[in-house]
């Protein structure tokens, strides 16, 4: 395990225990199969019950809802370890926990919490998060999905969502829609929509060259009729889904470090064992420089996420701090993955090694949950007070 700066000593016993359990799970259950899953374009669905019994779904939500009640550093370490396996596996857990369980927890009624959270923690109910639309990615405020309330208090939803992780697997979707015409972003509310509701269809998006061990779908809602109590009562405007994204991005900042660690460890081990020109390639300065650069950036990322986690546990973390960490760490991980792949030479293009898989995955991670560029602008606005989005 890559811990050049002895960061373990800054973790509590409980945090280390959580990390070690998920680490072993990934070693034993994810790594042996994930390369094949990736090549076959298949999410390893068999892992869901096991991940649930390990307790990773919504692990930072309270025990009264069947969750583990961990702190946010532990939650981050879980994401790190899962993404050390594969970004697709981590994405599944992020969506389930941060994008579906979290909004139900934060904006849902007591009954919604009691109905959904325990079954989502146990993996009986799988969720997806419908915010992004075909023409509204970085600009969710422009969404055109509409929810219209009927005279009996029920709702009818119409619209389409795209790039939805777990979309075709999910039993339930948290769908974000405008309730007062397409110009009013303050009218955006969340709805808990069972995916077997008539008019709701999910279709897998084919031909992905990234996140191949993850289901990504398009959702179409045509006169989807849900009861009045499907609305998340405490959701209010665009800031509600953005709060969910902050939760998920927090996990991504950790997860991407895990992917980078996996690539670095693979590259370092290969460099010490692969012999060329009569000596291990790790003895050549070019490869040493590669490895030194990778390790340095990983250590910085590790320190960044740990401090971010401590801020989150203290309740003082800001969305802009999360933007900085997501932006830095994912970009760092894409660089590390690419350099690792190059160090591996021809072997590096094989699915037998993890680096190219991580490299391709991280291009999605770079793009989703706020692209790298969008986070640049978030930081720009935080620094200057000037909005460069519009």
């Amino acid at each position: 395990m890559t811990d050049f700066y002895g960061i373990d000593s800054a973790l509590s016993e409980e945090e280390r225990a959580v990390r070690d359990s998920v680490h072993r799970f990934v070693d034993e259950r994810v790594l042996p199969i994930i390369g094949d899953c990736y090549v076959e374009g298949r999410f390893p669905r068999d892992l869901v019950p096991e991940l649930a019994s390990l307790g990773v779904f919504g692990a930072n939500l309270p025990e009264e809802y069947g969750c583990a009640g961990l702190n946010n550093v532990s939650y981050g370490l879980i994401m790190q370890e899962l993404e050390r396996g594969d970004s697709g596996v981590r994405s599944f857990a992020s969506v389930q926990g941060a994008l579906v369980m979290y909004p139900i927890f934060a904006f849902g009624s007591d009954e919604q919490k009691r109905t959904y959270l325990p079954k989502m923690a146990s993996g009986e109910i799988i969720g997806c998060f419908g915010l992004t639309e075909p023409d509204y990615g970085s600009n969710p405020a422009g969404m055109i999905t509409m929810a219209r309330q009927q005279s009996d208090g029920s709702w009818v939803l119409n619209g389409a969502k795209m790039w939805i992780t777990n979309g075709s697997t999910a039993h339930v979707a948290v769908v974000w829609a405008k309730t007062n015409g397409d110009k009013d972003e303050r009218s955006i509310r969340g709805f808990v929509v069972p995916t077997n509701t008539p008019g709701f269809t999910a279709r897998d998006q084919k031909g992905k060259l990234s996140l191949r061990a993850s289901d990504t779908s398009e959702l179409v809602m045509q006169d989807v009729h849900v009861a009045g109590d499907a609305i998340l009562p405490k959701s209010a405007g665009l800031k509600s889904p953005l709060m969910c994204l902050t939760q998920a991005r927090y996990g991504i900042a950790w997860g991407s470090v895990g992917a980078a660690m996996a690539c670095f460890e693979e590259a370092a081990s290969y460099a010490c064992n692969r012999v060329m020109f009569g000596k291990p390639i790790g003895a050549f300065q070019l490869q040493q420089a590669r490895l030194a650069e990778m390790l340095t950036e990983i250590v910085k990322g590790q320190l960044l996420t740990l401090h971010l986690g401590r801020l989150k546990d203290a309740g003082t973390m800001t969305p802009q701090q999360v933007s900085l960490a997501k932006r830095n760490n994912v970009s760092m991980a894409t660089d590390v993955a690419r350099e690792a792949r190059r160090l591996l030479g021809a072997n590096g293009i094989l699915a037998e090694y993890a680096s190219m898989r991580h490299m391709a995955n991280l291009e999605s991670v770079y793009t989703y949950e706020g692209t790298h560029d969008v986070h640049t602008l978030v930081l720009g606005q935080a620094i200057t007070g000037l909005n460069a989005f519009q």
Binding site: G6, A17, V18, S21, F25, L54, G55, A68
Partner: protein, 250 residues
């Protein structure tokens, strides 16, 4: 059924070991520690026996400095019910001295089964369990690869060189657990949280005289590799001889 499991905190065997400056111990800087391998099997065996029985209690016991509490909590997070830390700053190299302390704790505990790992993966003596059994005067089967308990009696299988034996014994008894019983379960995240609330009793102990002293620790010579000992079937006798007398693995 009341079960005690004696566990040891040991270095992760994947570690690239370094000898400490005193030349008599392992440099522990940066080394990860966990439940010693076979002791993890023993905890798993105890939990499965309890689950099969439907009732009972599993107590984990460890001797050592304060760091062993982390190891005890790991066992609690797997599902053990309570823990006892026999606190001492120095654990001797003498298995008999260790067995005496553990036997004193086990004595009068009312345990039906007292489990140990077959051996501590680090010290590799494979002695403490049978010694504790002798000191307690209870039956013992060591290195069990299968264990069944019913009606106050146990049946265990032991693996021998190219053979195996089956033994029966009455409870209470000491059984030391070999690999092959069942892989230790992963502590769930809820289990980790629950472990913090389970009882962990700290008992300072005096370890008696040790007649075994570590004089030196050293790393074995580096593997060289590349040695071709012969060609074809004719090389087999030499290979077997080397495996027996040089590598000592046959």
């Amino acid at each position: 059924m009341k079960i005690a499991v004696c566990i040891k905190r040991a270095a992760d065997m994947e570690t690239r070991f370094k000898i400490a400056a005193d030349g008599r111990s392992i440099d522990e800087a940066g080394v990860k520690f966990d439940i010693a391998d076979f002791d993890g099997f023993a905890v798993e065996a105890a939990l499965q026996l309890k689950e099969k029985d439907g009732t009972g209690e599993v107590t984990v016991i460890s001797l050592g400095k304060d760091a062993v509490q982390e190891t005890l909590r790991k066992a609690l997070s797997m599902g053990a019910d309570k823990a006892v830390h026999l606190k001492t700053d120095a654990v001797p190299a003498d298995a008999l001295a260790i067995a005496r302390v553990l036997a004193a704790e086990l004595e009068g505990g009312g345990y039906d089964l007292m489990l140990f790992g077959r051996m501590a993966i680090d010290a590799a003596n494979q002695s403490v369990g049978p010694m504790a059994a002798e000191l307690l005067g209870v039956p013992c089967v060591s290195a069990a690869s299968q264990l069944g308990v019913a009606g106050g009696r146990g049946t265990a299988r032991r693996e021998l060189e190219g053979a195996a034996e089956v033994l029966e014994f009455p409870l209470p008894a000491v059984v030391t657990i070999d690999e092959g019983i069942a892989r230790p379960r992963l502590p769930s995240l809820k289990g980790i949280m629950a472990a913090k609330k389970k009882p962990l009793e700290v008992k300072p102990v005096q370890v008696g005289e040790s007649r075994v002293t570590v004089i030196k620790m050293e790393l074995p010579p580096e593997r060289t590799g590349g040695r071709i000992i012969g060609e074809g079937p004719d090389a087999v006798p030499e290979l077997v001889r080397l495996l027996q007398t040089e590598a000592k693995v046959l």
